[in-house]
Symmetry: none
Subunit: 202 residues, 4 copies
């Protein structure tokens, strides 16, 4: 039987400091050279305080990143986010993807999210958590927008939205993750056009 620490007595100050230290360290020196000891030192915290609450540095980073997302969302004074629905599917998708491109190029997000994605490839458990907590909720928004488009007759009824969304989301993801190409607003606009109207002649 493992001794679980008492979460009620947890120091909120330390938690915050650890999140901040983790994110800033990853930004400064990169993920592989970020160490638990380094996080503890920068956070002004004992190593044990990290090991008490997280099993590994990847988990620290995941939580720190989720927390960052929440804080950013809160700042933006948000109601649960949805993809805009102006009636023009192409325009709505292009707008959202342009925003995504901007976010992917934001250096604050770059290092930690790439690090998490990488760790997730190799560490199955973390990968699933990463996907479930960060990726899927985003993708679900596309599913909803595509459903609405199907009702409006702008997308064929027999199309599976969960697969359809990958036509424009995955290419962007891959270019960003694997540096297989530049990412830009024109690029994502093109993706939307290709996906909606197909490659074959009409």
């Amino acid at each position: 039987m493992v001794k679980r620490p008492d979460a009620r007595r947890r120091s909120e100050k330390s938690r915050r400091a650890i999140y901040d230290a983790a994110l800033s360290l990853v930004g400064d020196v990169g993920y592989p050279r970020t160490t638990v000891e380094g996080i503890a030192a920068r956070a002004g915290v004992g190593k044990q305080t990290i090991y008490r609450w997280w099993p590994s540095k990847a988990d620290v980073l995941l939580e720190a990143f989720l927390d960052l997302g929440e804080r950013v969302a809160e700042e933006a004074g948000q109601q649960p986010y949805r993809i805009p629905d102006t009636g023009d599917l192409a325009a709505d998708l292009k707008a959202v993807l342009r925003a995504t491109v901007d976010e992917l190029l934001d250096p604050r997000f770059e290092a930690p999210s790439r690090a998490l994605a990488a760790e997730g490839l190799v560490n199955e458990q973390l990968g699933r958590e990463f996907v479930a907590k960060l990726l899927e909720p985003q993708l679900q928004l596309y599913v909803e927008r595509l459903r609405s488009a199907q009702e409006a007759g702008q997308v064929r009824a027999e199309v599976d939205p969960r697969i359809a969304l990958e036509l424009f989301v995955s290419p962007l993801a891959q270019r960003w993750l694997q540096h297989t190409g530049e990412i830009s607003h024109t690029y994502t606009d093109t993706l939307v056009d290709y996906a909606l109207h197909g490659l074959a002649p009409r």
Copy 2:
């Protein structure tokens, strides 16, 4: 000035042993717990022999993997590979993607290629090499097939093949890498259909 070792005197036996040890270790214990020391020990080789020829374990693995690919190709008694061109673009693409699915599910490839992809996300230099030596050559085959389809009037002339191919390749890649969904022959068939004919009604 760096001392370059004399490649002519290199022990072929050691090289082979190191490749084998690296691949089998990654398969056995996973990439992060694969160590240079471990590879050396399993290969029956001094550590220095590894460091003499490769700068890092990632590079060892990359070469080992490239070598594995070559050997497999050789076994298959292959002329330089091309995507079949039967005149039916959809059928050709589906066939190739089905073969890719089979390969991705082959456990021999699973651990090392996932490991390399992951390392490539975080280690820019390795990532570029991975893309240049493994990924791009594959993608180039699609570019050629799509060009031929354009000439045959099966793909619109203004479509950029390098982007177009991502509509079916990237979704598969992402599902496999990030476990965001199952991969199967029906799935890739669907991708090809969606990509060629678009999501919007005709």
Copy 3:
């Protein structure tokens, strides 16, 4: 200025429990592996309750040991102890030393007293306390008995009793502490004989 705890409000039950836990732990796992945390846990007491009243585990043990001595003495229904004075100095000394041998071989005393002696070698302050509270009072009894023997003409007048007693006490102590030889009744008898009559021929 240090905050002194209010000794009047001290919990007698905790004190007892700590003494018992400390002695039994030292007996069970040895001094170096006895920890303050371990004592607290076994005593069912918070660590702070120990640190409130003692500066270190050595001091806890010293007090616990003194207390043990007192309790044992009490059990024995004792008036302040003196060395018997039957008029036969040799016999009296031999009797006392035999009793001491028995005590030294009692496993209840072995671990803690050896531990305290060891700690006292290295921790000067504790050493002085150990000597002052445990050792010197014992030695003083010998001083008195030897004085009485001098008055009876059984010991030369010019002999310094404080030094003289060391002739039989120190060898026993050293053998016990440093395992430099076995200790037994015959051994201490011999010591008394040698000390009283000298090594040189009469």
Copy 4:
């Protein structure tokens, strides 16, 4: 089966540096605050180099101390040491004990030898080694001198020299180790006198 390191490849420089660092650290900060990490740092050596060759800091110190003894002995350009035998037993013993007193008061020896003695009380294995390698050889010299005195008729034939020597050696040892009294030339002279001629009137 434990992996034994190859002693032939051992770095003599590191060994020396570790001895020096260990002795000087014990001298500077005392035994309990001497850490393996500290020794490694001061010696400019990796921790593993210490753990490779010694099981604990106590063993490092023991060897360092033995080595110091040897070096000092070598400096003194020594033939195997013996207690002088001028025919006058009392004088010879007094001379040797005076020298011992001087050595015990030498600050170079003080900290490490006290530390070793202390550790030896609690760590049985080390204690035996300490006694066997350092203490007993010294005591044996007294045994020989006393035997010679017995042959010369200056010590009673039935006296056991191994016990007899404790009459003057142990008191000195105890005073030094446990701070139970000052040590000086007059003190050891007195011990010799008492031991040789006894406490009882002639």
